[in-house]
């Protein structure tokens, strides 16, 4: 039972990290959005698994909200922004693909090193995934600082949020519901405000 639980969460967490790495070599915004959408669906799956095996029924509800908000609404807003950008031209990151992948490898190693004390004090079946969650946080941060286009930075930021949600799910079976709901509200408002500001950027740079 615990072995299945542990294996399922570990596999899903690794899948989420891989989906973040996709952003590093793809050059089109649509690929970024697809990667984020898929990652969010996997996150919702992790929520469901933790709810089932960890006996935390309220996480089923959280998973459904993740699915609706991050798997559907947010990607839809992002697609709208991409349409408004008027150009399907390639993105030009500040760091080339090879270097990016090397840096992210180093970040993953660092995440394992940093999270060692955390894994030592925990006895949950999910603890194996914690370094992966931390690695996802670091890789997402790297995406934000190494991309020039606003929309790519937003995707990086959203993946960072996914990484933190994964950390909370694996580390403590989710944060208290009132905080969780507040976070969802912030993500939704945050993305809408980011969209508004990015439209302002398009307007002012068109002049």
């Amino acid at each position: 039972m615990d072995a299945t639980f542990s294996r399922l969460t570990m596999t899903a967490a690794s899948a989420m990290l891989l989906l973040a790495l996709v952003v590093l070599w793809r050059r089109h915004v649509s690929a970024y959005i697809t990667a984020f959408r898929t990652q969010s669906v996997v996150l919702a799956f992790v929520g469901g698994v933790v709810a089932w095996y960890g006996h935390v029924p309220e996480l089923f509800f959280v998973s459904v909200v993740i699915l609706i908000l991050k798997g559907w609404i947010v990607p839809w807003v992002l697609s709208g922004m991409e349409t408004r950008r008027h150009s399907a031209r390639e993105l030009h990151p500040l760091v080339n693909t090879e270097t990016s992948l090397l840096v992210c490898g180093a970040l993953a190693v660092a995440a394992y090193e940093i999270s060692r004390p955390l894994a030592e004090v925990m006895n949950l079946a999910t603890r194996g995934g914690l370094p992966v969650a931390l690695a996802l946080i670091f890789v997402s941060l790297f995406i934000v600082v190494s991309r020039r286009e606003a929309i790519a930075q937003i995707v990086g930021f959203l993946m960072l949020e996914n990484g933190i949600a994964l950390l909370a799910l694996l580390g403590a079976y989710g944060v208290p519901l009132v905080v969780e709901m507040g976070v969802f509200l912030d993500v939704l408002l945050g993305v809408l405000v980011m969209q508004a500001v990015v439209y302002h950027i398009y307007e002012t740079s068109a002049d």
Binding site: L118, V121, N123, F157, A172, V175, P176, G182, V193, S205
Partner: protein, 486 residues
């Protein structure tokens, strides 16, 4: 009773924001209502502060709301500056008409911004505190490009992105602390509550608590403008409309430092204060140095004020690491800075309006063109430079004293040098603005309007603070120190 207090504190800004959202016509009336009801929020915060200063019990409502002396101090600052900004914001001055849309946008977001800051300081749940501080970024970012210039839109984006990412790191720290708490076997339903966190703090695992604090310091430090995460601050604070700059510089930075102080208290109980103190000293000194050495090279007066905020946050951060006296000094410093910086930013808005330019060189002859504004602005700059008889002089002396007594003579010496550099630079820049011949075409002379009288209030309060500290404030600060260092 406590429920009424919390409602009276939070309702005025929230209701005003709702009203601005719903009422499409005549935003001027919304503005009036806003200016007339915000004092209710301020008076409530003051009443709570007096109760706690007299040793009363914290204001507690349910699981969510809890105001102790530290919260009350911040609530007074936030609601005070928000009241000033509401009274001086767009839509009220008949002599100076602004587009109706601008008034409406301002009243909507500025009030939501004040509301989120008040929630952040009045909640007893550190998870909700994080949610509220994250929301401060969202509510203030759209207001920065009120006039859609390219510079303001870019500043807004930089602020939004760096602020959101920084605050996400703070959430990582919050989650790490929560994970740690969950492993101690305590009731996780109340895990992020201040009282239960503090009770369980000694059982936390030191390594995890340290890791969490690093994330929290970097995250909330980004919002507090601590170096090297301060790059967004000069742009955002200088491009924002002046009443918003006043709120961002005067109190938002203080609210972010408040979050750091809360977590520092918990982490100190788990691992001892040496760890967090040394981090705060390094970050504080770096920030103060970045701020003070950047002052002289600024060419725009609002950027000058923004870098001065960075310097003062560095000083406060340094003070927080210096034991009880240092915490006392840092909290006093934050209070005095809130008064001085909000007044200075609001006055800079008047200068900007008069000259139509934000450059220091372009605002020559201020004493002749706008004498009232000039005198108050000069007083504000003197206060920020740490000159007596203003409140910041007192708090800076106390920070230096605390540094000396805590056994950091070299660092204290460096702080003194930084203070002198900041003072000299501010004085040189002020001199450039006050004197000289104003450009032809700039209107000369100024009437003593209600706005001028309102702006004189924070300046007079600063003098009061510096000359004789009110005993209630002293008592409130002492109680707040006890919250941080039990």
């Amino acid at each position: 009773m406590d429920l009424i207090l919390v409602l009276a504190l939070l309702t005025p800004p929230f209701a005003a924001a709702l009203l601005a959202l719903v009422v499409r016509r005549e935003p001027g009336r919304v503005a009036w209502l806003n200016a007339l009801t915000m004092p209710v929020s301020f008076a409530t915060a003051a009443a709570i502060a007096v109760r706690l200063a007299e040793g009363g019990a914290p204001v507690v409502v349910g699981d969510l709301w809890r105001l102790d002396a530290l919260s009350a101090l911040l609530a007074v600052l936030v609601s005070g500056v928000a009241t000033l900004a509401a009274a001086l914001g767009p839509g009220l001055d008949r002599g100076h008409r602004v587009p109706a849309g601008e008034t409406r946008t301002f009243r909507l977001w500025a009030n939501l911004f004040a509301f989120t800051m008040l929630v952040a300081v009045s909640t007893g749940n550190l998870g909700v505190m994080w949610v509220a501080i994250e929301a401060t970024t969202v509510t203030s970012a759209l207001l920065i490009p009120l006039r859609r210039t390219k510079a303001s839109v870019d500043a807004s984006w930089k602020y939004l992105l760096i602020g959101s990412v920084g605050i996400a790191l703070a959430f990582t720290g919050t989650v790490l602390a929560y994970v740690d708490f969950a492993t101690t076997g305590a009731d996780i339903n109340v895990a992020l509550h201040w009282t239960s966190l503090r009770a369980a703090a000694t059982a936390l695992h030191p390594q995890v608590a340290r890791l969490a604090f690093v994330f929290l310091l970097v995250g909330f430090g980004t919002k507090a403008g601590l170096a090297p995460m301060h790059m967004w601050l000069p742009d955002a604070h200088s491009e924002a409309p002046s009443p918003l700059s006043a709120m961002m510089s005067g109190v938002l930075l203080a609210v972010a430092l408040y979050a750091i102080v809360r977590w520092k208290t918990i982490v100190d109980l788990a691992v001892g204060s040496a760890f967090s103190d040394s981090l705060l000293i390094i970050v504080g000194m770096t920030t103060a140095a970045v701020g003070s050495f950047s002052l002289l090279s600024q060419t725009h007066f609002k950027r000058l004020l923004a870098f001065s905020s960075i310097e003062h946050m560095g000083l406060a951060c340094f003070g927080l690491a210096l034991g009880p006296l240092g915490v006392f000094a840092a909290l006093l410093h934050l209070s005095a800075h809130a008064l001085a910086k909000s007044a200075a930013f609001l006055l800079s808005g008047r200068v900007l309006e008069r000259y139509g330019s934000g450059t220091i060189a372009g605002a020559r002859g201020l004493l002749v063109t706008a004498p009232h504004t000039a005198v108050l602005f000069a007083a504000g700059i003197f206060a920020l430079g740490g000159l007596p008889p203003f409140g910041l002089f007192l708090s800076e002396i106390l920070i230096v004293k605390a540094g000396w007594e805590a056994g950091h003579p070299v660092l204290t010496g460096i702080v003194l040098v930084l203070l002198l550099v900041a003072f000299g630079s501010l004085l040189v820049q002020l001199h450039r603005m006050l004197f000289g011949a104003a450009a032809p075409g700039v209107v000369r002379g100024e009437r003593a309007t209600v706005s001028v009288v309102l702006l004189a209030i924070p300046v007079m309060l600063l003098v009061w603070l510096g000359v004789s500290m009110p005993p209630q404030l002293q008592s409130l600060l002492n109680h707040a120190v006890l919250v941080v260092r039990p």
